[in-house]
């Protein structure tokens, strides 16, 4: 059995990817607390950096192509 802290309010049980809330009435959390008396959970992973969207991606997000935008703005090639 191994556990991992997360960036959220749950603890991840790595054997089955179960998300355990920090609730005293939860049997899995009780089991985790027992485990943690003699073990240390893995640290939460560092999320990968989120890349800035390109102009094309921003356009695609709203369903426009570059040509359509040019037409809308009356901009010639």
């Amino acid at each position: 059995m191994d556990y991992q802290l997360t960036t959220t309010d749950v603890i991840l049980r790595l054997d089955d990817n179960a998300c355990i809330p920090k609730d005293e009435s939860n049997a899995d959390y009780q089991e985790y607390l027992e485990w943690a008396k003699t073990n240390t959970p893995q640290n939460e992973p560092t999320p990968e950096a989120i890349p800035e969207k390109t102009a094309e991606e921003k356009l695609a997000q709203i369903g426009l192509t570059k040509d359509e935008l040019k037409t809308l703005l009356g901009v010639a090639d």
């Binding site: 960036t7 959220t8 309010d9 049980r13 009435s25």
Partner: protein
């Protein structure tokens, strides 16, 4: 003295039907008719670990044994019962170490047991009844274990090759009340195997005592369910009720029983579909407007016993710990449930892996939520 029905004075000469509840909901046990099996109808190779595996609300407690068994819901039972729980030994263990045990049990919340009036001068007797059979004659032990106070009471019961109803009335306990809360206060246990740590003492018949492990399975001529790979144990119609009389089993509809079970285990999958199956049926959908957050916010079918442990699955691959992004990405993404409450969970967060989808995704997942005792 004859029973008299009189239009003026009512029923006379009827000293007692049952000191417990006569009508309405009587059975404290959930799923005693073995109708509901949300997780699976059959699991083989059990015995190494404790937990809930097949029929809802029935737990396996085990330690140390090399014995293994299959636990299954099967279509068999006495007249009026369509299903039963069957345990079939698949690996025998006749070299029994001291700490071994195997217990089939149902833990019960304290707030559902206050009518026992345990720990008061007016404490009630409790009657446990069930139907059993096996491959051969056997002797096991039924126990009420008071978790709150570390007390127990035991009686043995015999199994034959034919269905028989066992009726065991347990003494009232005027000592030590049960907590009025949502955690386990009493466990209805069926001891099926035990080593000397549980058999080395003196068996006390129907007497509440502070628990001594060595006494719990110390009945003479007890059976070990692991004594042979021929060994089977069938049980259904488990009822626990107030009073000294085993009344007729209280049949409930499947829907009622399922709702009672969903307080402890619920799932987005269709009934009969195992967790981790790749299917969109019943899946919950949401949107992801941020790279790290997915707004999937399912509500559970009933309010759960406690804030549950949640496992999410990709409906596309069945992979645990993943949601499926079906717009542009078209792939699983790792995620964890978050903001979990007794009525649902508020979102999923992507705390690991590739966050480069830039948000704006449709997301889908399946889930199970577990708040077992």
């Amino acid at each position: 003295m004859s029973l008299v029905l009189n239009g003026t004075t009512g029923i006379t000469n009827l000293p007692s039907i049952n000191s417990g509840q006569i009508g309405g909901r009587r059975n404290i046990v959930i799923n005693g008719e073995m109708k509901v099996a949300q997780r699976s109808t059959s699991v083989a190779g059990l015995g190494a670990a404790a937990g809930y595996f097949t029929l809802d609300r029935f737990s396996i407690a085990t330690a140390a044994s090399a014995g293994r068994f299959t636990m299954a819901q099967i279509a068999d039972g006495p007249a009026g019962f369509a299903n039963c729980l069957k345990i079939s030994t698949t690996t025998a263990d006749t070299s029994i170490a001291a700490g071994e045990y195997l217990i089939l049990g149902q833990p019960i919340e304290g707030q559902n047991l206050q009518q026992l009036k345990k720990g008061t001068a007016s404490a009630e007797q409790v009657t446990v009844s069930f139907y059993v059979k096996g491959n051969a004659a056997a002797l096991y032990v039924c126990e009420l274990f008071d978790v709150d106070n570390g007390r127990s009471i035991t009686q043995s019961f015999a199994v034959t090759t034919a269905w028989n109803r066992i009726e065991l009335t347990f003494a009232a306990d005027t000592s030590d009340p049960l907590d009025d809360d949502n955690v386990a206060s009493l466990v209805l246990n069926l001891f099926l195997h035990g080593g000397s740590d549980f058999t080395g003492g003196t068996f006390a018949v129907n007497t509440w005592n502070d628990n001594t492990n060595a006494n719990r399975y110390a009945v003479a001529d007890r059976t070990s369910i692991y004594d042979s790979t021929d060994r089977t144990f069938f049980i259904t119609g488990i009822q626990m009720e107030l009073g000294d009389t085993a009344t007729e089993f209280e049949h409930r509809s499947f829907g009622e029983e399922l709702s009672l079970c969903q307080r402890y285990y619920t799932t987005s999958y269709s009934y009969g579909t195992a967790a981790g199956t790749a299917t969109y049926d019943g899946s919950v959908k949401g949107e992801s407007y941020r790279a790290d957050r997915i707004d999937i916010c399912p509500q559970f079918k009933v309010v759960m016993r406690a804030v549950p442990t949640v496992t999410i699955y990709s409906p596309s691959t069945g992979s645990s710990g993943n949601v499926y992004f079906d717009h542009a990405v078209n792939a699983d993404r790792e995620a964890v449930g978050s903001q979990i409450g007794m009525t649902g969970f508020g979102s999923c967060y992507r705390s690991a892996g590739d966050l480069s989808h830039n948000g704006d995704q449709h997301a889908t997942c399946q889930y199970i939520a577990v708040a077992e005792l």
